[in-house]
Symmetry: C2
Subunit: 202 residues, 2 copies
Amino acid sequence: MANASPTSAPAKESRKREQIIRAALSVFAKHGLHGTPVPPIATEAEVGVGTLYRYFDNKESLINAVFQDSKQRLQDRLLTDLDLMHPSRALFDTLWARLTAFARDEPDAFQFLEMQDHHSYLTEESRRREQALLIPLGMMVIIGQRTGLLGNHMKPDLAIALFWGAFVGIFKAERLGYLTLSDDDLKQARDACWLAIANHDH
Amino acid sequence: MANASPTSAPAKESRKREQIIRAALSVFAKHGLHGTPVPPIATEAEVGVGTLYRYFDNKESLINAVFQDSKQRLQDRLLTDLDLMHPSRALFDTLWARLTAFARDEPDAFQFLEMQDHHSYLTEESRRREQALLIPLGMMVIIGQRTGLLGNHMKPDLAIALFWGAFVGIFKAERLGYLTLSDDDLKQARDACWLAIANHDH
DNA sequence: AGTTGCGGAATGATCATTCATTCACTTTCT
DNA sequence: AGAAAGTGAATGAATGATCATTCCGCAACT
């Protein structure tokens, strides 16, 4: 065995990398992308600025790492062990529950992913990650429409944008202090969203 | 008469101010708030940097001017000659139509108002403008619930956040290239939003 | 003793803001 | 009326602050 110590060298190294990503996420969420200098990120990560640049080529590549990491975690929490190919009201409720759990557990990541200004920074790979989440959801909507569960008049992309926008909207309102979301509020919002996209022909 | 010329001195002065606000809006929408230096704004406004600082104390006060101007225009276009105290499906459709018209006619203003990062800049006055739009809409929802037009289980603020988020979501998706919104798509989205908030007890 | 990781002062670039000067237009004086 | 002086808007080079990035000396580990 090359490494038997509790924190082996490569493990410790990648732990530091994650530390920086987490710190960056937290500062970006608070002050925006252009708005946060690099040194405060290093401070928050309890790391020298020079160290940060050992792990990331530049600010842009750090931003992409944060983006991909957050997107990946969202995707994992949302899709793991879920059969999107058999849509049902129960599946919708599960997705909603997982989404709210994500928004609650990782508010910084949730907010970061909705920021406007990272889109000019994103690399090809980051955009691919975006698709990795959108495409399965799109297929789910298509199947749901085929089976008569969902209204089949709407473009799948439109349904997703509508739903996602509504979801983001209520949490954004909460973050800005216009609202507090109780469990009951979330259930009502969930049901309202379902009404918006379900099939009403029967 | 002190001023008989077609563009009197005070008129010309305020025209220049508006020119700067318009230019700032356009550049802010493209590159974000922190992301845009002041000089490019002056260039876009066809004005010297020094001139810009004759009309605005600093960047922050320019941002607030842009915000208030955009918010005011949204409010004017949305509420003028509308009786919010008598909600109906037709009123909802009118609001939707005005909202889409605004998003189409003034995409920069629409996007700017949704940006995350201006909230740390906003003055008391700017926040007041925010309320000036939200409060009448909230009253409309309350009345709609009282009259049985809207589902009356939901907090008015929640209904508004849900609706506004969905609306913003579809236009954001279009801007980012995930979608194109035909007139038909917009009608479908409108009807879906109505289903989400209307009363279904009859 | 050598190698690798780390830190943070140093560097050069970019930014917000200022200010000395120009310029166009009035008012005053002869 | 024509000349001279006054006024304040407009300008953009200059200034100082802040930022991203580098690099060299130090520490830890082998």
